[in-house]
């Protein structure tokens, strides 16, 4: 038989152990939550880091051909495309895009324009408003955009007529 004092001690010990177990469970759950939140925070911070980085400028080569009623020279085509970008988007985009004619076939009037990944869409869109090059009526038809000069040359060679 246990005395009253012993029973009281056991009851207190039991209640204490239950309380501690409950507290530890709560603490564990809270820790798990915190860890989860921490992971999420880490993820978000990584995303922000990614977004915060300035975009790497990559070269893009646009293969195109010119449809005209007469021969159009290299410099005239480059000037017409540059003027179209400037007319449509202004000086800022021209300076970012900096479209340069790096290859041009005078006979078949096909060529490659070099720009970058940020501005390639602007250059392609501007090609639609090119209507004239030094007095001659022209249409510029973009054919393919690629990131490799070797591939661009291949596409250009594939244009036969």
């Amino acid at each position: 038989m246990l005395s009253f004092s012993q029973e009281a001690v056991i009851a207190v010990a039991l209640s204490l152990s239950i309380a501690s177990a409950t507290l530890s469970i709560i603490a564990l759950l809270h820790l798990a939550k915190l860890r989860k939140r921490g992971d999420l925070l880490m993820k978000i911070s990584r995303e922000f880091e990614k977004r915060g980085k300035p975009g790497k400028l990559r070269k893009r080569y646009i293969v195109f051909r010119v449809i005209s009623d007469g021969k159009v020279l290299r410099s005239q085509v480059e000037e017409a495309i540059r003027a179209a970008v400037k007319e449509l988007y202004g000086v800022t985009i021209v300076s970012i895009a900096d479209p340069q004619l790096i290859a041009y076939d005078d006979e078949l009037m096909k060529g490659i324009i070099r720009t970058n990944n940020l501005a390639k869409d602007y250059v392609i869109a501007s090609m639609s408003i090119v209507r004239e090059a030094s007095g001659r009526r022209i249409i510029v038809k973009p054919i393919k955009t690629t990131g490799l000069l070797r591939k661009a040359r291949k596409y250009m060679e594939a244009i036969t007529r």
Binding site: S128, R131, R137, I139, P142
Partner: protein, 205 residues
Amino acid sequence: MSYIDFGVTSSELDKLTLVARRLGYRALLVEDCGSWASAVSMNGVTLVKKQVISSPNERELKRALSTSTSKSTVISVKPLGISAARLAARDTRVDAVVLDLETLNYIDKQQFSMMKRFSKPIELPLKLITGGERALAKVIRRLIYAAYIEVPIVFSSKASDWSELYYPKSIAFLLSQVLSLKPGDLLSGFTTIPREILVKKGVKL
């Protein structure tokens, strides 16, 4: 890819079709054409007759539609009044409603929702894109709304000369920046939507 220009006004069709072929066009809809049959082939490009009806009210539009000659002729309506615009949106004989500076005031939100309900496309003359800033701004506002409620859009160059033709991909890139749509979605205005109209009219491509 084979494109369809929803409206050219050229008289020099020989040169125009040659250039259109090089740009990847398969068919051209010719306005104010001569007395040739509804669809002819020239230099590998199908030429389809198109009629543009300008009308200030419902009664005149009904009269014009009843006197329309051939079933295979594609009909676009330039509504110059609210009642004409509403009739054009619901009449099955009308294939498209023209959106330009003259019709701008009559093509409102209700018109767009009616056009969507009757799946009637809006025809955009591309010359407006290269027109003045003020006019372009007005058209762009309507176009953004049309794109928002998903009214189909078809494009016409209204080219009277070969150098006025557009390369569809470039135009799609240009408009995608304004309308916040994918260039691929806008290209359907040169491909699937006009093709569906031509197939409905019985034109073989």
